[in-house]
């Protein structure tokens, strides 16, 4: 343990092992089927009460991972264990029972609410899905939730379009909280928001985590945000988890060349600190034709021959610090 602030909680809440997701793509009528290899052999463990940040560039499979964990998407293979229970093969009914405990918040607060449902009804909906309480209790519970997320009781009867993005994100949170979940996947919850609103939501998330003892899987592409909110961070590249470490460790001693490039590419709001950047050449390759060996090798400034041939495995180098790279 290097840093006090970064103590790692030890009770696993959720364990995903060897998750794979291939989306079939039809090309031509007689052409062979090809696959978008969105997530490849990804394993991660989330401990009770922590915030696990997942970062990576657009299209690297972050959302897909989040949705597989909630079984909003069926994994091609791999398994998910929640509180030690294997949920991968749960039936629709069994799933409903654990869905109460696992919730998700999406990036786009504008499309996450049914435009034709009043806010009150939207927040109350999970209660009627699970038949919790009667109408009066519902209303009380909704008002309480509204208060919790910093909205007013008079918002109960309004429609989503009357709210700003930040407020909608609060509503979505309230709805997710209505079933008292233990675990929430936050899929880029602030990236659609204005800078000045972003901090409001981040603070709220932290507040709620404290109040409700929540565990978050926090997906984002903004490294500063991830750094701010997470206890541990996983870095994804092209469907692979390339590095995972407690936040401070990752940001101070990144090991994987991709993580390093990523960190150095973040523009710093300080004109005096114009750092030397590692500018990666080229674009992220297509997930349909994954590069051989290490998926990062075509852009890696330090790639060696082995990288082209062998797939690096994720190795634990220090406690909780895992890296998938041949060079380390």
């Amino acid at each position: 343990m290097q840093l006090e602030t970064n103590e790692v909680k030890e009770t696993p809440l959720l364990q995903a092992s060897n998750l794979v997701k291939h989306f079939p793509m039809k090309r031509g009528y007689f052409g062979e089927k090809s696959y978008v290899k969105a997530v490849s052999d990804l394993s991660l463990t989330i401990y009770q009460g922590e915030t696990y940040g997942l970062v990576g560039e657009s299209g690297c499979g972050k959302s897909t991972t989040g949705r597989m964990i909630l079984r909003l998407l069926e994994p091609t293979s791999g398994s998910v264990r929640y509180r030690g229970k294997e949920v991968t093969h749960f039936s629709e009914e069994e799933l409903r029972s654990i869905r109460k405990e696992m919730q998700i918040i999406f990036q786009d607060p504008y499309s996450a609410l049914n435009p034709r449902k009043k806010i009150g009804k939207a927040i109350q909906e999970p209660m009627s899905i699970y038949n919790i309480g009667d109408a009066k209790q519902h209303k009380e519970a909704v008002l309480e939730l509204l208060r919790k997320v910093g909205l007013q009781p008079e918002h109960y009867d309004r429609y989503p379009h009357e709210f700003s993005g930040g407020q909608r994100q609060r509503i979505v949170l309230a709805r997710a909280l209505a079933v008292h979940p233990a675990f929430i996947v936050c899929d880029e919850p602030v990236s659609a928001l204005d800078v000045s609103i972003q901090s409001q939501i981040l603070n709220l998330l932290e507040q709620l985590q404290e109040d409700f003892e929540l565990t978050y899987l926090f997906i984002a592409h903004d490294l500063s945000v991830v750094r701010h909110i997470s206890d541990r961070v996983g870095v994804m590249y092209l469907g692979h988890l390339v590095e995972e470490a407690p936040t401070d460790v990752l940001f101070s001693e990144p090991l994987h060349p991709y993580t390093r490039a990523l960190l150095s590419a973040v523009p710093e709001p300080n004109p005096k600190k114009r750092r030397e950047r590692i500018v990666l050449s080229g674009d992220v390759p297509s997930p349909i034709n994954l590069p051989s060996g290490c998926v990062f090798h075509p852009r890696c400034p330090q790639a060696i021959e082995t990288c082209k041939k062998e797939v690096p495995i994720l190795r634990e180098l220090a406690k909780h610090h895992r890296v998938a790279c041949h060079l380390i």
Binding site: N114, G150, E162, N203
Partner: protein
């Protein structure tokens, strides 16, 4: 100075300056064409409802002594070849034309909504339903209607059935494409994440969001139904006489267009006004409710 991050100041100002519904209403009234469309439709609906009060003649009873009289104060639109008052027939004809149109709209909306929603939601069903849909759409509307009517016999109820069969695919298709868009929305996934069952997703979340395209579509279907009913009756395959419908009044009058212009002009103008009204209304509603639908696919 710390602020608790949970409370928000000035939440009141979150409300947009004007309530959404009010904007919609304003926007509608700003659209002069849509307003005139709805006035026309309203007017014709009133005529339908008040038909017996508007005229003292019987639309069917004949009076051969009075045949083919030009418009006058006692017969505003003249009389037809059986001496029936054309105004009365046109007024009562509105009941048939609008009644057929309205019934067709109701049936196509309900059935089309069901087909559209289910085929959008269940992919396997989709393939099957859409094949049937494509098959039915491959028939030219009028021909299909003529064939169905020939099979069922000319009765008003059969006209409604035939036109419904003709237009259900159109509605189903519009609903389906709207529903597919809605299905992909995040809020549907959110309900799934909350554990909502299929029926809840389909009927409580997808369906209400397909209502705008449905309403717009329904208005146009109404207009088509009125025209098609008229065309069918004109061909002698629609509403059976002596019951007056605009199409069959026109049909009766077409051979004597030159001598008895009133027999073709008045029902013709009635059809035009009604269809115009409905189209204007539909256009207005579309601009209002459904601005991004691909208009080609209506």
């Amino acid at each position: 100075m710390e602020t608790s991050s949970v409370t928000m100041v000035g939440t009141g100002s979150a409300t947009p300056p004007m309530h959404h519904a009010k904007i919609v209403v304003n926007r509608f009234f700003a659209n002069r064409l849509a307003v005139s469309g709805s006035i026309l439709v309203l007017l014709i609906t009133m005529i339908c409802i008040l038909a017996p009060l508007l005229t003292s003649y019987d639309p069917i009873e004949m009076n051969v002594q009075e045949r083919l009289k030009p418009p006058s104060t006692s017969h505003w639109f003249g009389t037809d070849e059986f001496g029936r008052d054309v105004f009365t027939r046109v007024v009562y004809g509105s009941r048939i034309s609008m009644g057929v149109g309205f019934s067709v709209v109701m049936i196509t909306s309900v059935v089309g909504l069901m087909f559209g929603l289910y085929s959008a939601y269940y992919r396997k069903l989709d393939n099957f339903l859409m094949r049937i849909n494509d098959g039915l759409m491959a028939f030219p509307a009028i021909l299909l209607a003529i064939a169905i009517l020939a099979a069922l016999g000319p009765k008003m109820s059969n006209v409604i059935i035939a036109l419904s069969v003709v237009y259900i695919p159109t509605v189903a298709r519009a609903i389906r494409s709207a529903a597919i868009t809605v299905r992909e929305q995040t809020y549907i996934e959110a309900i799934r994440a909350l554990g909502g069952k299929s029926w809840r997703i389909i009927w409580l979340h997808i369906a209400p969001n397909c209502l705008s395209p449905l309403i717009v579509q329904a208005t146009f279907i109404f207009a088509y139904a009125v025209i098609t009913e008229a065309s069918l009756s004109f061909l002698g395959a629609g509403t059976p006489p002596p019951e007056p419908s605009w199409g069959n009044i026109l049909n009766d009058g077409r051979t004597i267009m030159k001598q008895a212009w009133w027999m073709t002009v008045f029902p013709g103008v009635s059809i035009m006004m009604t269809v115009l009204g409905l189209n204007l209304l539909g256009d207005g509603l579309r601009d209002l409710l459904d601005p991004h639908t691909n208009k080609a696919k209506k």
